[in-house]
């Protein structure tokens, strides 16, 4: 038990990232508000980034830091476009609940 508590190794960081990923995934699957879903996706990307940096440390390889930086930039661009789409949808129907997007059901 004290090993798990006090001997923090790569496994700890990786499991922390996996839990973060799971929470993000759960948020996307369960919540209905587009903004919360977008935030949950950001959590998933952060979990991926944390995994990447843990492995970078493990392998002593800096190129993953570049990768992580690029992921952060992509997340920013994605958030900008996503929020713009949310605003556009809101303008049309005054709410952003994904369950109420029903114009396309047949």
């Amino acid at each position: 038990m004290s090993d798990i508590l006090f001997k923090v190794g790569y496994g700890h960081f990786l499991v922390l990232a996996a839990v973060l990923f799971l929470i993000g995934m759960g948020g996307v699957l369960v919540r209905r508000n587009a903004l919360i879903i977008l935030m949950s996706v950001e959590l998933m990307l952060n979990a991926a980034n944390m995994t990447l940096l843990t492995f970078a440390r493990m392998w002593g390889d800096l190129s993953a830091h570049t990768f992580a930086l690029i992921v952060i930039a992509v997340a920013a661009a994605e958030a900008a476009v996503g929020l713009a789409i949310v605003v556009a949808v809101f303008r049309g129907r005054r709410n952003v609940d994904v369950d109420k997007l029903t114009a396309l059901r047949h």
Binding site: L14, F21, G24, M25, V28, A34, I37, L38, V41, M44, L45, A47, A48, N49, T51, L52, T54, F55, M58, W59, D61, S63, A64, T66, F67, I70, V71, V74, A77, E78, V81, G82, A84, I85, V86, A88, V89, G92, R93, V98, L101, A103, L104, R105, H106
Partner: protein, 489 residues
């Protein structure tokens, strides 16, 4: 220094697309007036220049050679150039069919053409990607531009809704993609695809390879709309403006397949990696079988032509997955067959959607099958073009679609021990089923009386695409050997 100035010569198609895209975005800011013809010409010229540059470079590179560029971020090989030529041509054709639809349905946004070319630049990056970083970046550049293009009919609630669904699902898939890539990186210690194969074979953490492979299967399942992950596709395809739908169904799917060819064929496949057999390949073959079957069965029930084409495109995604599986499991000819199939599929899709645009007009989109009744009596050319494209989708003999399916299934038979034989049988049975709903449209066009007079959307570019695509598809069917040799099969 790692950057060699000569490397820029190898990515001229990419540079052309990027520069033209930037010019178009800039031009929109300073452009006055409603007439966007100049922008369309510039976009088509840029995309065609990219295609020509790809062809020129294709001939420069020896078959089988790989030149690594920019610190191994990209590489130049024949597969990459033929794919980037395909993406550039698809972009040019999309740019040609767009203005008529924009004029008719009044969503003339100049940013559209800039985003179209920048999206294509992401696809070209995917075609040449030699690193997880460039694959990720290419997919995102392509996807983010497409999300925006979906939402460009800004007064249409359906367009916004389609964009929202596509965006949320796409972002979710990005999360899986990135996490899967991180795990693969952890197993291999490198993000370079060329070195990854041997690194993975010697890894001390085989579990990470399997977990990462599964996550990538999920991510790409979303991207090409394979069946458990396909729910967004019919809505997004129906709600998006038709030229964007054409681009999504044709080029985006082809680009995702290009990325998969690199990732699953190169890094995760081949003889060196026994995990390929039981790691990602086993869920993939199951997904391929379900995708082909359910895509077809759902298409039968559709009355809306755009939705029917969406489900048919899902089913074609399944056939592409069969090709990817056989590539990863070591079938040597799978590379050429996949590219052949992609070309035939892309051209048929663009042709079919061009006819959909032609038939519709303002206030009357005519997307129901019944609306197409009697098209042949008034507009025989359009009906003929649609028929050829549909026959190619269905895999009927004198078309490229037939040989595409034939070559893909033939490569699948090459996989060791006939492991994919059952998949080939399912694919062929489904080809037969699919004829049924394609013929529904053909029967409506030829053997029914028109209900209301047609007021087609006419434009030179549109008619050109409607003529070019079926002709090329027929040509691919008549001289398949020539085309197969081009793609290195």
């Amino acid at each position: 220094m790692i950057i060699n100035p000569a490397d820029f010569g190898y990515i001229v198609p990419y540079l052309i697309l990027v520069i033209t895209g930037l010019l178009l975005v800039l031009a929109e800011a300073f452009y006055k007036g409603k007439d966007r013809t100049a922008l369309v010409s510039l976009a088509v010229a840029g995309a065609l220049a990219g295609a020509i540059a790809s062809v020129v470079l294709y001939r420069q590179v020896a078959p089988g050679a790989r030149v690594t560029l920019f610190g191994e971020m990209l590489f130049a090989d024949r597969t990459g150039y033929i794919l980037s030529a395909l993406f550039c041509v698809a972009t040019a054709l999309t740019a040609l069919i767009s203005p008529a639809h924009q004029r008719e349905h009044e969503w003339q946004l100049g940013e559209y053409y800039g985003l179209l070319l920048l999206s294509a630049s992401g696809m070209v990056m995917l075609a040449h990607a030699a690193n997880l970083v460039t694959i990720f970046l290419g997919i995102e550049t392509m996807s983010i531009a497409i999300y925006v293009m979906c939402a460009m009919r800004r007064r249409s609630r359906r367009g916004n809704e389609a964009a929202m669904k596509y965006f949320l699902i796409g972002a979710f898939a990005t999360g899986f993609l990135m996490y899967g890539m991180a795990l693969l990186y952890g197993a291999a210690g490198t993000s370079n695809l060329l070195r990854m194969q041997s690194a993975l074979a010697a890894t001390s953490n085989p579990g990470l390879v399997i977990a990462g492979g599964f996550l990538l299967v999920v991510a790409f399942g979303f991207k090409i709309a394979a069946v458990p992950f396909h729910m967004w596709a019919p809505d997004a395809y129906e709600g998006a403006p038709t030229p964007v739908t054409a681009f999504m169904a044709a080029a985006v799917k082809a680009a995702a397949v290009a990325a998969m060819m690199r990732l699953f064929g190169l890094a995760l496949g081949g003889d060196l990696l026994p995990y390929g057999r039981l790691g990602w390949a086993s869920p993939f073959v199951v997904i391929a079988a379900i995708t082909i079957t359910l895509g077809n069965i759902s298409a039968i029930r559709q009355d809306n032509v755009k939705r029917m084409l969406a489900y048919s495109s899902i089913s074609h995604g399944g056939v592409l997955l069969v090709g990817i599986c056989s590539l990863g499991l070591g079938a040597v000819s799978a590379n050429g067959s996949l590219i052949y199939y992609l070309i035939a599929y892309t051209l048929s899709t663009l042709g079919a959607f061009a006819v959909v645009i032609y038939v519709g007009s303002r206030g009357n989109e005519r997307t129901l099958v019944d609306d197409w009744s009697g098209l042949a009596s008034k507009h025989g050319g359009a009906a003929l073009a649609m028929t050829v494209c549909l026959l190619s989708f269905g895999g009927m003999p004198p078309t490229g679609g037939f040989f595409g399916k034939f070559y893909v299934f033939k490569s699948a038979m090459e996989v060791y021990d006939g492991q994919l034989l059952w998949l080939v049988v399912i694919g062929i049975l489904n080809s037969a089923i699919s004829i049924f709903y394609y013929l529904r449209i053909v029967t409506a066009m030829y053997f029914k009386e028109p209900t209301t007079p047609f007021t087609p959307t006419k434009s030179g570019g549109l008619i050109f695409v409607m003529a070019l695509c079926p002709l090329l598809v027929l040509e691919m069917g008549i001289m398949p050997g020539f085309w197969l040799k081009l793609v290195g099969g």
